[in-house]
């Protein structure tokens, strides 16, 4: 319990208010369920059974509140409901629904607490439940942190089961047949005489009775849909160009806009739009915060005109030159900037004292998000409120942001969530939303579609946090005897939270995430996190802290194991204290044929990271050719407890590996004169098809709790690659992007 007290004493604000039993939320309030948002606006003969199921005579709509940015969660959420509800694929529509406290994320709180995911102690569980309570009371609806499946797994199946039992109860009431004699299948209730009543026929009856709340979930052995290969509901649309993204919507009366804001993130001192004013298609030129928006009849006209405006941009709030950023990072390994000592096993200082110390410094730069669909939003403001169309992962906060800009209540904001063309954390920020609102306020009643040009998106990106690590170790008798890791990064949590107006207190849970919670039993091991004061504004980049911390842990550890004369994979297995983790390591050992001779100029590397509760191991095989490194094969094993959609799971893991490797190879954001130097994909392209290796995926299901897989494949990718390159060439890479030091083919 001592640790819990220490943490809460350090002003872990949100948690501590609940822990000390502040009046705002006692158990009663936390126990109360939010209103069902489907009840409002329900017509005659329409039923809303739980906030997730709507039935009319026309059809069944399943509410899938988690935003789909490409990870396939609309389909996965629908599977969970349809499974218990005995619907077949094709028998329902899906909708993200209205933003609502009823869709509060029960699982996002997990990452917000400073405990290992494997820590099930009273202190850890208490803190999780407290944070969960806070999320519930605040109605925090959000998609992120690989939490959609953990959030949905029980909740949505329960909703499906409640709907099914309620429909049976409705059928029983209508027919007089006892509920126990009724069954359900393929969207129908079946009577003992083999006659059926379609769910859609029972809408009115169901609307008139109380939902049946006491349900038992089916055993996985009975599943028809969950855990089986199914065709993702959006696949045909996305293969025929018929699924619209936010950027594609056509709202009647819509105008097109683009924006140019200060690339230095400072103020706009002035501008001269005279060249832009007369340009073809331009309708309005509107100053917005830190920049200027152009409204036109076509996005291209708007972009051409915006490019013709001359600006006087103010200075950046951060140092203008990249080397100044690195200098600040390097200056942060101090007592004053120590944010948290996350772990200390044994006595590291004693072990280092007088021994031959191996040390290494590592670096991970800013990287951009830049999903292929650029930032966009459609907003219409009128005397009733505001209507918004966009893809966003924080719908409740979105409404608050729009309301704040428009000077209205959040209740007056209607938000229609859309499919997103990728995110990687990009669609957690609000620039597109608030700027579109600012513009829309200048044109009341007119829907304004704001599209960022790719160049504008790049220069306004809130990249991944910048950071560095210092590792020290001692080896003895063929083993790692001591491992001391210090990590210093800027805080994505504080930067992002600050922009959202959220109080952020307590230790930054991300700086060392993925490193401090490693499962290795090393006699002396210490992890310390240092907070670098804010430099360039940053945000959550897919896998957040672990995207750097995984590299910072697994690179140096590899160096130590090799210095000790050990085998990198065998030693990791030997040191591993966590059963599920050991199994994924053993899996990649088997999958990759680790230990066999690959021949000259070839090598294998391994890395393991547990992020978001998912133990993930990767082995990468490379060849050093005359033209550079070729990445031949990747073997990934990871444990999410239960795999909901196995086909999408494999695609998603492969995609995550490609994402992690691509950025490790060639992507960074660097600042010069306060401006990001990378302006389009030529400068930061990630991986291309020709570089893509074979990627073999094995999903294990030993873990007790279900986890999400959106982020876990990323952190081990970079270190596994660096370790493989070392094995093949003897060259040790300690800084990303790797193409600064070696070529890739």
């Amino acid at each position: 319990m001592g640790r819990l007290k220490t943490l809460t004493r350090r002003a872990f604000l949100i948690g501590s208010v609940a822990v000390t039993g502040g009046v705002a939320f006692g158990a009663y309030i936390v126990g109360r369920d939010p209103e069902n948002p489907l009840l409002a606006g329900l017509g005659d003969g329409e039923a809303a059974i739980t906030p997730f199921v709507k039935i009319t005579s026309e059809g069944v709509t399943l509410i899938t509140p988690h935003a789909d940015v490409g990870q396939g969660v609309y389909h996965a959420q629908a599977l969970l409901i349809a499974e218990e509800m005995d619907l077949d694929l094709g028998q329902f529509e899906v909708s993200p629904g209205e933003p609502s406290a009823a869709y509060w994320n029960t699982a996002m709180a997990e990452e917000a607490v400073p405990f290992k995911s494997t820590d099930e102690s009273f202190a850890a569980e208490t803190m999780r439940s407290v944070m969960g309570g806070v999320f519930k009371v605040f109605g925090v609806q959000g998609t992120g942190g690989s939490s959609s499946m953990p959030d949905s797994f029980v909740k949505l199946r329960e909703a499906g089961a409640v709907a099914r039992e309620t429909l049976k109860a409705a059928a029983a009431a209508r027919t007089g047949v006892p509920v126990g004699d009724l069954t359900t299948a393929s969207g129908e209730v079946r009577l003992p005489d083999a006659s059926t009543i379609a769910y859609t026929d029972l809408a009115t009856d169901a609307a008139g009775i109380e939902p049946v709340r006491s349900v038992t979930l089916r055993d996985p052995s009975e599943w028809r849909l969950v855990g089986k290969p199914t065709q993702r509901l959006d696949i045909v649309g996305k293969s025929t160009g018929t699924t619209p993204y936010g950027i594609d919507l056509q709202i009647p009366g819509m105008v097109h806009a683009t924006v140019k804001m200060n690339p230095r993130r400072g103020p706009m001192n002035g501008y001269d739009a005279s060249a832009a004013e007369g340009m073809r298609g331009v309708e309005k030129i509107i100053p917005v915060r830190n920049g200027v928006a152009v409204v036109a009849s076509n996005t291209w006209y708007a972009i051409q005109a915006a490019n013709a405006i001359e600006f006087d941009w103010g200075a950046s709030p951060y140092p203008p030159e990249q080397d100044q950023h690195w200098a600040e990072v390097d200056a942060s390994f101090t007592e004053e900037r120590l944010n948290m000592e996350w772990r200390h096993d044994g006595d590291v200082d004693a072990a280092l004292n007088g021994a031959e110390v191996i040390s290494a410094e590592y670096r991970a730069p800013y990287v951009a998000h830049q999903p292929l669909e650029p930032l966009n939003a459609i907003v219409r403001v009128d005397e009733n409120g505001a209507e918004v169309w966009a893809n966003h992962q924080l719908p409740g906060f979105l409404k608050m942001q729009v309301a704040g800009v428009a000077g209205i209540e959040a209740d007056q904001v209607t938000f229609h969530n859309q499919y997103g063309g990728g995110s990687f954390g990009h669609r957690l920020e609000f620039e597109n939303i608030t700027l579109a609102t600012e513009i829309a306020m200048q044109m009341p009643g007119v829907p304004v579609k704001l599209t960022f040009s790719r160049e504008e998106d790049f220069c306004q990106d809130f990249g991944r946090q910048i950071g560095a690590a210092r590792a020290k170790g001692v080896v003895k008798d063929g083993k790692v005897e001591a491992f001391d890791l210090q990590i210093a990064t800027t805080s994505a949590v504080a930067s992002q939270g600050g922009r959202m107006g959220l109080p952020v207190g307590g230790p930054d849970t991300q700086i060392s995430a993925g490193a401090w919670n490693n499962p290795y039993d090393i006699p002396n091991q210490r992890h310390r996190a240092y907070l670098v004061p804010e430099l360039a504004p940053v945000s959550s980049w897919r896998s957040v802290g672990a995207s750097g911390a995984g590299f910072f842990n697994e690179g140096p550890l590899d160096e130590m194991i090799l210095a000790a004369g050990g085998d990198p994979l065998e030693e990791r297995i030997r040191m591993c204290t966590h059963d599920d983790a050991r199994k994924v390591l053993e899996a990649v050992r088997e999958m990759s044929g680790w230990g066999s001779d690959l021949g000259p100029n070839r090598g294998r590397g391994v890395a393991f990271v547990n992020s978001f509760g998912v133990p993930t191991a990767e082995v990468i095989e490379v060849t050093m050719t005359d033209w550079g490194i070729k990445i031949d094969k990747v073997f990934v094993a990871l444990d999410v407890g239960t795999i909901i959609d196995p086909d999408n799971f494999e695609n998603h893991v492969q995609g995550g590996v490609v994402f992690g490797l691509g950025h490790a190879i060639n992507s960074e954001l660097t600042y010069s004169d306060g401006i990001a130097e990378q302006t389009n994909y030529h400068a930061a392209e990630g991986m291309r098809l020709y570089q893509t290796p074979e990627i073999h995926v094995r999903g294990l299901e030993n873990a007790e709790k279900i986890r999400g897989v959106g982020e876990p494949p990323i952190p081990p990718a970079a270190p596994a690659l660096a370790n493989a390159i070392f094995a093949a060439t003897g060259q040790r890479l300690r800084e990303m992007p790797f193409n600064k030091f070696i070529d890739f083919v």
């Binding site: 302006t679 389009n680 030529h682 400068a683 392209e685 291309r688 098809l689 020709y690 070529d743």
Partner: protein, 202 residues
Amino acid sequence: MKKLIFALILTPLAAFAEGETVAINPPVSATTEEGLAAWGRIYEVASHPRCSNCHVGADGYPMWSGPSYGKTRRHGMNINAGESRVGAETVPCATCHYARFEGANDAPHMAPQVAMDWMLPPAEAEWFGKSSVEICNQLRDPERNGGRDFRALASHLDHDLILHWAWTPGGGREPAPYSLQEHVNDVLVWGVSGYPCEGDTQ
């Protein structure tokens, strides 16, 4: 379909008449010294990234070199012009470097466009990484220069609009040295002086 692609790509050659025209006025005579001096300037042009990046050998990978690129490397995205030298076997150059008349190439880092479909020269005209003597010998050899004399080379520089791009590349790229007209003049001097190359024994 490959033939169709070829036809589509080569037809515009005749259709586009835009572009800078040059005066082709060979001198009456020129000395060897003048010829060699002219060759020196021709080599400066030929070895400049705006020319040499596409004057690559049979492996068909255009190059990205010069101040715009930092490190010298092959054209990104695994682009290869293939035996057709226009990418007909896989993805044609014109897919990204679509022909257009004017107003193009303002945006930095955009695929350059000229008033004819983008292409590589034949593999015989490999200049990338070659020495002055090597290029000189290739350019004066009718077996390796498309059967051309100096007049035909000058005419080639006049008509093939893709070559004009070297001096007005746009997008913040460093142009080839001198100018199109000066380059043509140098070719004429070099030709009239007897196509001298260094290392020739008289």
